[in-house]
C-alpha cells in the first residue's frame, strides 16, 4: 500500500519534471495520466498529488481519497465545457486542491453525485457554478473557498456557489463564497446543516427553496443583495447569523422569509441592511432575540400571520417597523428605541403598546412613486395624523422599556479626528470672520 503510494508520488513527480522541461505540449498526456492514475487506483485508496498543475476534466467513479500533499500547491486546471471534477461514486474525499475553471459554461466546476462525499479545503475559481450537488446525500463540504473568476458577467447570469438539488442531510461548514449568484442554494434538499459560512457580494447568501428542517447557524453575510432568502420552507432554524450591509439594492434584505412556516429565527444580528427582517406571507414562525440595528427599515411584515416576534432589539433603524395586513401576529417584549413607553408597575415593560403605522406601506403599495417621501418631514407629520382603525395595526402589546443588558454588542467606534479637525477649521474660519467684522473704534 505504502510502496504503491510512493510509486504514485514518484510517478507524478517525474511527470512534473518532464512537463516543466517540455512546456505545455504534453498537457494532454498529464491529464490522461492523472485520470489514468485515478482509474488504476483501487477503491478506498488514497492518491496524493505533488505540487503542480493538472488538467481537467477529471472523473472519480470509485471510493477514493484524492489529496494534495501537505503544503503542496496542486492546481486542477480545466478549460473544457465539462465539470473540472465529476464525482459519481459514494464515499469520495477530495482535499486541498485548487480548481481553476474560469471559462463561462453550463456545467459546474465540481459535479457531485455520490453519497457521503467529503470535500475539504478546496479553493475553486469558477466561471460557472462552484459545486453542484445532485441527488447525493450525507456529504460534507468544508473549509472551501469559492469565488467567481470571469469578468463581465452580469450577476443574474452567474452560477451559484454551492447548489444542492434533491440532496439531503448535507453538511456545509466554514466555507467562504464570493461574488457568485447565490452563495448556497438549496432546492428540495432537506435537513442541511449550514454553519460558519461566509458570503459576500453575491445575490443571496443562503437561498432555501422547498426545503425542510434546514439549520443555518453562525454564518456571516456582507454586501449581498439579500443575506438569507428563506422561501417556501418548513421548520428552518436560523440562529447566530450576522447579515450586514445588504443595502445597495432596492430589493435588499438581511433575512427574507417568504411563505415560510414553523421556522425559528433567533439570536441573529442584522445590521445596516435596507430591511433587517422581512416577513411576507409567512405563518407560525418565531422571531426571537434578534438584534436589528441601523437598518433603513428594521422589521417589515407583509401579509404575515400568527408569527411570534419577541425579545428582539431594534436600534438605530431609520424606521423600526413597517407592517401591512399583519395584525394577527404576536408581538411582545421587543425593544424599539424610537418608542418611549410608560411603565407604571415597574416590570420593565411599557403599559402602552407600540403600534406600527400602516399608512406609508399602504400608500406606497398602491402608488410606488410616493416612496420618494420616505421619512421626509412632511411624511412623518402625516403619519402622525393617520390614526384610522388602530386596532387593526400590528402591535407590540408590552414593549421593553430598556434594551436587555446582555444583548448589546459593544462596538462603538471612536469619533474620527477628521471630524475634530474639520470642526476646528470651521471654528477658526468663523472666528476670524467675526474678528474682521467687529466694530472698530475710530
Amino acid at each position: 500500500m505504502i510502496t504503491r503510494r510512493v510509486k504514485v508520488c514518484l510517478g507524478i513527480m517525474l511527470l512534473c519534471l518532464f512537463i516543466a522541461h517540455t512546456g505545455t505540449v504534453h498537457a494532454e498526456h498529464k491529464k490522461a495520466d492523472l485520470q489514468r492514475l485515478l482509474d488504476q487506483a483501487s477503491p478506498g485508496e488514497t492518491v496524493i498529488l505533488k505540487s503542480g498543475t493538472y488538467d481537467g476534466p477529471l472523473l472519480i467513479n470509485k471510493p477514493l481519497h484524492l489529496k494534495a500533499e501537505d503544503g503542496a500547491e496542486v492546481i486542477l486546471l480545466n478549460s473544457t465545457a465539462q465539470p473540472a471534477l465529476t464525482i459519481e461514486a459514494d464515499q469520495v474525499t477530495v482535499t486541498g486542491l485548487r480548481i481553476v475553471d474560469v471559462s463561462v459554461k453550463e456545467e459546474p466546476s465540481i459535479l457531485l453525485k455520490g453519497n457521503q462525499a467529503m470535500l475539504d479545503r478546496l479553493h475553486i475559481q469558477t466561471g460557472a457554478a462552484g459545486i453542484m450537488v445532485r441527488d447525493a446525500n450525507d456529504g460534507k463540504i468544508m473549509r472551501t473557498t469559492i469565488e467567481w473568476a470571469a469578468d463581465g458577467v452580469r450577476m443574474a447570469d452567474k452560477g451559484n456557489g454551492i447548489d444542492l438539488y434533491n440532496s439531503h442531510r448535507m453538511h456545509l461548514q466554514d466555507n467562504a463564497i464570493y461574488d457568485v449568484h447565490d452563495g448556497i442554494y438549496m432546492e428540495n434538499s432537506d435537513a442541511a446543516l449550514v454553519t460558519g459560512n461566509r458570503f459576500e457580494r453575491s445575490r443571496y447568501g443562503v437561498h432555501c427553496m422547498y426545503t425542510k428542517g434546514t439549520v443555518i447557524q453562525n454564518n456571516t453575510g456582507n454586501l449581498n443583495i439579500t443575506g438569507a432568502m428563506i422561501m417556501n420552507v418548513q421548520q428552518v432554524t436560523m440562529e447566530g447569523n450576522t447579515f450586514a450591509k445588504q443595502s445597495e439594492n432596492v430589493n435588499s434584505q438581511g433575512i427574507f422569509l417568504y411563505n415560510a412556516s414553523g421556522s425559528v429565527i433567533t439570536d441573529n444580528r442584522v445590521e445596516g441592511n435596507r430591511v433587517g427582517l422581512y416577513v411576507e406571507q409567512s405563518a407560525d414562525n418565531r422571531l426571537d432575540r434578534n438584534e436589528v440595528s441601523s437598518n433603513f427599515i428594521g422589521l417589515q411584515l407583509i401579509n404575515a400571520a400568527s408569527n411570534t416576534v419577541e425579545g428582539n432589539l431594534f436600534l438605530g433603524n431609520v424606521v423600526d417597523a413597517q407592517a401591512r395586513g399583519s395584525e394577527s401576529n404576536d408581538l411582545s417584549g421587543n425593544y424599539w428605541d424610537s418608542f418611549s413607553g410608560i411603565d407604571t408597575d415597574g416590570d420593565g415593560r411599557s403599559d402602552i403598546a407600540y403600534t406600527i403605522n400602516p399608512f406609508f406601506q399602504g400608500l406606497t403599495q398602491k402608488r410606488p412613486p410616493f416612496q420618494l417621501f420616505f421619512q421626509s418631514p412632511g411624511m412623518v407629520f402625516l403619519e402622525g395624523l393617520y390614526q384610522t382603525e388602530r386596532d387593526k395595526w400590528a402591535t407590540d402589546r408590552s414593549p421593553l422599556m430598556a434594551p436587555p443588558k446582555d444583548s448589546l454588542s459593544e462596538d462603538r467606534k471612536q469619533a474620527g479626528s477628521g471630524t475634530g479637525v474639520a470642526g476646528i477649521i470651521l471654528l477658526a474660519g468663523t472666528g476670524s470672520l467675526f474678528y474682521g467684522m467687529r466694530r472698530r473704534k475710530t
Binding site: R274, F296, V318, F374, G420, G423
Partner: protein, 273 residues
C-alpha cells in the same frame, strides 16, 4: 462689480451687527449640540435612524431661519428708507440684489459653520463625535439648504412690503415646502392617471429645494434604496461621478432663477416708485 462688492460688504457688516443673526446663531449652535447628544445615543454611519433624524431636524430649522433672515434684510431696506437713499447712487438693481445675496450668504454660512464647528470640536473632545463622512455630508446638506432657501428669501423680501408681510410669507412658504409638501402632492397627484405620478413627482421635486437637497443627501449617505424600485436609475446616476457636479449646477441654476425673478420684480417696483 465694484458696487456689488460694496453692497456685499455692507450687508456683511449689517449682518454681523444684527441681533437676529446672533440669536439664530445661538439657536443653531445649541441645536447642533443637541444633535451631538442624539448622535451619542447611537451609531451613526451613513443613513441610519440618527442621521435620518438629524436631517429632518435641520430641515425644520434651517430653511425657516434662512427665509426670515434673508427676507427681513430686504424689507428693512424698504422700511428704513435705505433703498431710497441707495437709489440716488449709480447702483443697479442686479448688483444690489446679488450683493445682498452674497453678503447674507456669508452671514448664514458663518452661522452654519459655527454650529458645525462647535459640535464637531466638542464631539471630538468628548470622544462621542460624528463620523467624518456623515458630518461632512450633513454640512454640505446644510450649506446647500441655506443657499437655496436664501434664493427664495430674496423673492419673499422683494414681494413683501414690510417685515410682517415677509414673516407671513416666510412661514407659509416654509410650511408648504417642509411639512405640507407630501400631503399636498399625495392629495393632488393621487387623482392623476397612474403613469403620470412618477414624472409629476420627479418634476415637482426639482421645484422644492428642501426635497431636492434631502433626497440628494439621503442617496449620498447610502440610503437610496429606501426610495424604491421606481427611482433606481436616478439613484445609480446620483451616486455616479456626475451626480455631485450636476446637483451643484442645478442648485446654481435654482439660485440664479430666483435672483432673476427677484430682479424683475424689483425693477417693476422701481419704475412705480
Amino acid at each position: 462689480m465694484n458696487s456689488l462688492l460694496h453692497v456685499a460688504a455692507r450687508e456683511m457688516k449689517i449682518g454681523f451687527r444684527n441681533p437676529w443673526a446672533y440669536s439664530f446663531m445661538a439657536l443653531f449652535t445649541l441645536f447642533m449640540l443637541s444633535l451631538l447628544l442624539i448622535n451619542a445615543q447611537g451609531y451613526v454611519k451613513g443613513y441610519s435612524g440618527v442621521s435620518g433624524t438629524m436631517l429632518n431636524l435641520v430641515l425644520y430649522l434651517l430653511p425657516l431661519m434662512t427665509l426670515m433672515l434673508g427676507s427681513f434684510s430686504l424689507t428693512s431696506e424698504k422700511e428704513e428708507g435705505n433703498w431710497e437713499l441707495l437709489s440716488t447712487y449709480p447702483l443697479g438693481t442686479g448688483a444690489f440684489l446679488t450683493g445682498k445675496y452674497i453678503g447674507l450668504a456669508v452671514v448664514l454660512l458663518a452661522i452654519v459653520a459655527l454650529g458645525f464647528g462647535v459640535s464637531g470640536t466638542a464631539g471630538w473632545l468628548l470622544g462621542e463625535g460624528f463620523e467624518f463622512l456623515t458630518y461632512i455630508r450633513l454640512l454640505i446638506f446644510s450649506v446647500c439648504l441655506s443657499l437655496l432657501f436664501l434664493g427664495i428669501a430674496m423673492l419673499v423680501g422683494t414681494a413683501a412690503r414690510n417685515r410682517w408681510q415677509a414673516l407671513t410669507m416666510a412661514v407659509s412658504l416654509w410650511f408648504f415646502a417642509i411639512i405640507a409638501w407630501p400631503p399636498i402632492l399625495i392629495a393632488t397627484l393621487g387623482m392623476l392617471p397612474y403613469g403620470w405620478i412618477k414624472p409629476a413627482v420627479t418634476a415637482l421635486t426639482f421645484l422644492n429645494p428642501a426635497e431636492l437637497t434631502r433626497l440628494f443627501t439621503v442617496v449620498k449617505l447610502g440610503g437610496g434604496s429606501t426610495l424604491g424600485p421606481e427611482y433606481y436609475d436616478w439613484i445609480i446616476w446620483i451616486r455616479g461621478p456626475w451626480g455631485t457636479p450636476v446637483f451643484l449646477a442645478i442648485a446654481l441654476v435654482w439660485v440664479g432663477i430666483a435672483l432673476a425673478i427677484a430682479y424683475l420684480m424689483w425693477e417693476r417696483g422701481r419704475g412705480r416708485d
